[in-house]
């Protein structure tokens, strides 16, 4: 009994000490009080040195909290009790949050860097007129191949994946919308179709791909591709950028016939409290120099035209991540579909997974 009491007291003491220390550390780094900005971002999705620079220039300290899926972020903001000033949802989630009245409109008169953005990445269907969102990064869905096993000329189009040469060679990202979308593009259909017959056709098309599919996985694709586990994968450009950085044999292709164009965007949740800090940060991140530095750090494509001009030529002209205008013209942005339509996509996709 005495030992038990000692143990409990000891545990409580350790907790108390940890709490006190973390509290003091937070205070000394100025993360409490009024001069703060609470940023709710994806993991490792901003250059940390920019946060230091921002604090030096404006005096606002940025607290970063991270999430790992749009849905997790949505649930957390929706249930309230959070004080995030800025969040970074993908495009379909912006539409969803808008509908759920979770966002505050942007005050355009307080934004100084708007003219820096490339107009082809503004005014998208998920947020017409950009009333609520400022683009942060954009990207595509494409094919990653390993030049040790596959020649570039063999995989320029989606249809190439169906070749019998690639039996048991392809890894797919576990995402209903993207894989169904890929199949739809191959059938020359819209990635936003809601016609059940077309979706059924897309599933049948995928079933034919099944013998070539080695696995349907999520984030692990990065690790597998880096370790040469599979010669081919279908994944997003952001993930591809990370893989390419770790394995020089990997390359990324956006099929010219079409693919998905996605956006991650800065938005202001309803619960935001530090208005001045928010606009200071948005303007800071719109400055070409800062946006370019961030783009170089993250490796994604920046929608900031002036920032892109500041990037090294090798990055700027990299057709893998900044595809040609002809390809960009064929890219499709996902519309936010109603829950029943999302279900339709997922049901067909689940059938394909069962088939595989």
């Amino acid at each position: 009994m005495k030992r038990l009491v000692t143990m409990v007291v000891g545990l409580l003491a350790i907790c108390g000490l940890l709490g006190y220390t973390s509290n003091r550390l937070e205070r000394s780094s100025g993360s409490t009080g009024d001069k703060v900005l609470n940023l709710y971002n994806w993991g490792d999705y901003i250059d940390p040195s920019l946060l230091t620079k921002f604090q030096k220039e404006t005096g606002y300290h940025v607290n970063v909290e991270t999430f790992d899926s749009n849905e997790a972020m949505y649930t957390k903001i929706n249930q309230g009790g959070t004080h995030y000033d800025l969040a970074v949802p993908s495009e379909y989630m912006v539409a969803k949050m808008k509908r759920a009245h979770l966002l505050k409109p942007l005050d355009r008169s307080r934004l100084t860097g708007w003219q820096n953005y490339d107009s082809q990445f503004l005014n998208q269907p998920f947020d017409r007129g950009n009333r609520y969102s400022m683009p942060y990064f954009w990207g595509t869905l494409g094919i990653i191949y390993n030049d040790k096993f596959v020649k570039a000329s063999q995989v320029q189009h989606w249809q190439d994946l169906w070749s019998p040469k690639f039996r048991d060679k392809i890894m797919l990202i576990d995402s209903a919308r993207d894989i169904m979308g890929m199949s739809l593009v191959t059938l020359h259909k819209s990635m936003n179709t809601t016609d059940p017959a077309t979706l059924l056709a897309a599933e049948h098309k995928l079933n034919q791909l099944a013998p070539n599919v080695k696995a349907i996985v999520a984030d692990e694709i990065k690790m597998y591709m880096t370790q040469n586990e599979a010669p081919l994968a279908v994944d997003w450009s952001g993930e591809a950028a990370e893989m390419l950085a770790n394995n020089q044999h990997l390359h990324y292709v956006v099929p010219s016939e079409g693919s998905n164009l996605w956006f991650d965007n800065l938005v202001i949740p309803k619960t935001a409290q530090h208005t001045n800090a928010i606009y200071a940060f948005l303007n800071f991140m719109s400055q070409p120099k800062n946006a370019a530095q961030n783009a170089e750090y993250i490796g994604y494509a920046t929608p900031n035209r002036k920032a892109k001009a500041l990037l090294p030529k090798s990055v700027r002209d990299d057709r893998q991540f900044y595809p040609t205008q002809a390809t960009i013209d064929h890219l499709q942005v996902y519309r936010d579909l109603s829950p029943t339509k999302v279900e339709l996509y997922n049901d067909r996709y689940l059938e394909f997974k069962m088939h595989h």
Binding site: M171, A215, I216, A218, Q227, E229, T340, L350, K353
Partner: protein
């Protein structure tokens, strides 16, 4: 006075039961009767039982859970029996339980490293001249890893059952001329059967809805009900359908509990 005291003692247990057992199960059942538009309906159940996909998935789940449980028993019983004979058995038992202190995700990632193309397993196969094989993303690797993860939960109850076994029975059996096999078959095994049953309950049910391993190790080549639940709650946000599958799993659990529950042994009692 005593009556009121007993009643007071019941409060924490009653609260726990109400809040963490009855309420969640009730909520799942309640949710399962609503569609995406929050209308009351039994459509989720009719969809489930009319869909070849879901029925096949159920069959898959039960089949793989059965295989995992079977292999776990086959490995765990001899292990527990052997451990029980050892001198420092509590220490050896601790070593068996040790892996359960490590997060399941870490263990899965460790297996990815071992089974991958350039992993240890393939290096060994290359060394003995067989050459590298595709190990990851096969049904066999999925069952292997799932079995590995479940083994401690099977060994523990069997070990405890062996511990509770009165050695006098074994001595008596030997004194009366039974061979070692007869002693095991007629005395030890029937008397430790409750431990095996407890282990089966602890292994079979979680195995029905494994979803992390089906993706990480199985590469989604094995689709179980867990995969479907994950998708309904996280992607389509159709909680009704997800709950329906949850209810099916609860019913499956009740069936397994009844089948492996404490019935009076029908024969072979040592008397």
């Amino acid at each position: 006075m005593t009556n009121r005291k007993t009643w007071l003692y019941f409060i924490p247990y009653g609260l726990w039961l109400a809040l963490f057992v009855i309420a969640p199960v009730g909520l799942i059942i309640y949710q399962s009767f609503f569609d995406l538009g929050h209308h009351f309906t039994v459509a989720n159940y009719s969809t489930y039982f009319q869909s070849a996909t879901y029925l096949k998935m159920t069959l898959n789940s039960v089949w793989y859970a059965f295989l995992i449980t079977l292999f776990t028993v086959l490995i765990s019983y001899p292990t527990a029996y052997f451990l029980h004979q050892l001198k420092h058995r509590q220490f050896w038992l601790l070593l068996v339980i040790l892996p359960t202190w490590i997060n399941i995700l870490l263990k899965a990632y460790a297996f990815i490293g071992i089974f991958s193309q350039a992993g240890l397993a393939n290096q060994f196969l290359t060394f003995i001249g067989i050459g590298p094989q595709q190990i990851l993303f096969t049904n066999a690797s999925f069952i292997f890893v799932a079995t590995y993860i479940q083994i401690p939960f099977m060994i523990l109850p069997i070990f405890n059952a062996l511990d509770d076994l009165n050695p006098a029975f074994i001595n008596a059996s030997k004194d009366l001329g039974a061979s070692a096999w007869q002693t095991f078959h007629r005395v030890i095994f029937p008397l430790t059967l409750p431990g095996v049953k407890a282990g089966v309950q602890a292994v079979f049910i979680p195995s029905l809805s494994l979803f992390m391993l089906t993706r990480l190790i199985g590469g989604n080549k094995v689709i179980t009900l867990g995969t479907a639940i994950e998708e309904h709650f996280l992607t389509t946000m159709n909680w009704g359908m997800g709950s329906t599958i949850g209810v099916v799993l609860i019913v499956a659990m009740i069936i397994v509990m009844t089948l492996t529950g404490d019935q009076k042994p029908k024969g072979g009692t040592p008397r």
